[in-house]
């Protein structure tokens, strides 16, 4: 398709003459073409939502998990290549457990973010491996308050009020920017994420999807857990109704 990176894109350890690392950019493209993932850092916690494209009608609902808890108060949503994401999740679980064992205290969000960034970055330093084709959304609620981090395949990590990745990221970001994230509560955020996901989903062109959500908030006792099934369903119903009403009034 493209001859842009010809010759300089064969290994993550090779720069191009204009200073680009093509393998990292390609890894980013793997994330960009996968299902949309949205994270919102609210006044009282953090909410994560994943658009899980349903590949087969035979799949059991709730399988193919994209969101995992890595410590009591921390969770990760995987965007992009799921097996690479699972590798990051397992690493995070291991980091959190070892930290707790040695220091006697739960790992802080910003420390986990640093650890995962350094880990992602490793894969662009050696010739025998490839970068992770995944962007990690890290939700944490510790003594420094609720935090949302996004760690990219290159190892770049940033802290966000709201972020999105995947196919619908541009539209999702536009919607996120309209929200007042300083005042938004997690309960409201669940509804907003459902609304955003259904708004950007094109019924005619896109495959059906399942919405998987998790949160860590004051109401969950600062534990990272899946958003209860009823709450997600109610949010989805409300989102569908709101979109129908908007369509009808056009």
């Amino acid at each position: 398709m493209s001859g842009v990176g010809s010759g300089y894109d064969l290994a993550a350890t090779t720069f191009s003459p204009d200073g680009r690392l093509f393998q990292l950019e390609y890894a980013g493209k793997a994330v960009d073409s996968a299902g949309t993932v949205v994270g919102l850092r609210c006044k009282d916690g953090v909410v994560l939502g994943v658009e899980k494209v349903i590949r087969s009608k035979l799949l059991v609902k709730g399988s193919n998990r994209h969101v995992h808890s890595v410590d009591t108060g921390m969770g990760i949503a995987v965007a992009g290549v799921l097996p690479d994401g699972r590798y990051m999740v397992n690493r995070a679980i291991s980091e959190a457990a070892n930290y707790k064992s040695f220091y006697g205290q739960p790992m802080l969000g910003h420390v986990m973010c640093d650890r995962l960034s350094q880990f992602m970055h490793l894969f662009s330093l050696y010739g025998g491996v490839r970068p992770m084709g995944t962007t990690v959304f890290l939700a944490a609620y510790d003594r420094n308050g609720p935090q949302l981090y996004q760690i990219e395949p290159s190892g770049i990590s940033q802290r966000y009020f709201g972020c999105a990745s995947g196919k619908g990221r541009q539209q999702a970001r536009t919607e996120i920017e309209k929200l007042d994230l300083k005042e938004l509560t997690c309960a409201q955020a669940v509804k907003e994420i459902a609304r955003i996901m259904y708004t950007i989903h094109d019924e005619t062109k896109d495959k059906p999807f399942e919405l998987e959500m998790s949160w860590v908030s004051d109401d969950t006792g600062r534990k990272h857990v899946r958003v209860p099934e009823e709450v997600v369903s109610a949010a989805v119903e409300e989102a569908k109704r709101a979109i129908e009403e908007a369509d009808m009034s056009d």
Partner: protein
Amino acid sequence: RGGWGGMAGQAQAVSTGTTIVAVAFDGGVVLGADSRVSTGTYVSNRASDKITPLGGQAFLCRSGSAADTEAISDYVRHFVRQHEGELQEDPDVATVARMAMSINYQNKDRLMGAMIVAGWDAHEGGQVWSLPIGGTLVRTPWAIDGSGSTYIWGFLDSEYREGMTEAETVEFVKTAVALAMARDGSSGGVIRTVTVTAEGSKRGLFTGKSIPQFQDELPEPAWVR
């Protein structure tokens, strides 16, 4: 043989036969120690400093084998430094205490370090953590250790009160160490204190006349200026 402990015949390990004390108050802690280091009956250092900073606002009182506790404190300072780099702030006193404990526990068959970690942090305020030989870690309002501590358990059990001020706690610690020094041959010299609060740490040194005297002490001769 015998005579100078360590210089002829069997060498005896350098020991901090010691008195160490740490007491928490509302707003901080006061750590106190004597300054005698002995090799058998020979006092190899009569003015040593048994209170070591570990990093952040955490300090270590050392008793037992001098070599072991010095080595442990070096390791803990190293770990604390690495941890600070990742945390980008001072570690909690509880974390520092735990690091010291894990060295004691994982090497329990080789080490003889009876220590107290005490300090102040923004999350729990003033804290005292006991680290006896073997690798226990337990937080207490006050802690004592070393050979001299046997003589002052009754004093602390009876006289410790919650809600003392900083000045009262310094006097309390000074009195405790002085009482132990009076009866324990392996404790003596000067009394060193460290007071740790939100504002930082202050060192105190009490020598000669400023060390409280008790019963049976010889009165000072009239010709002493």
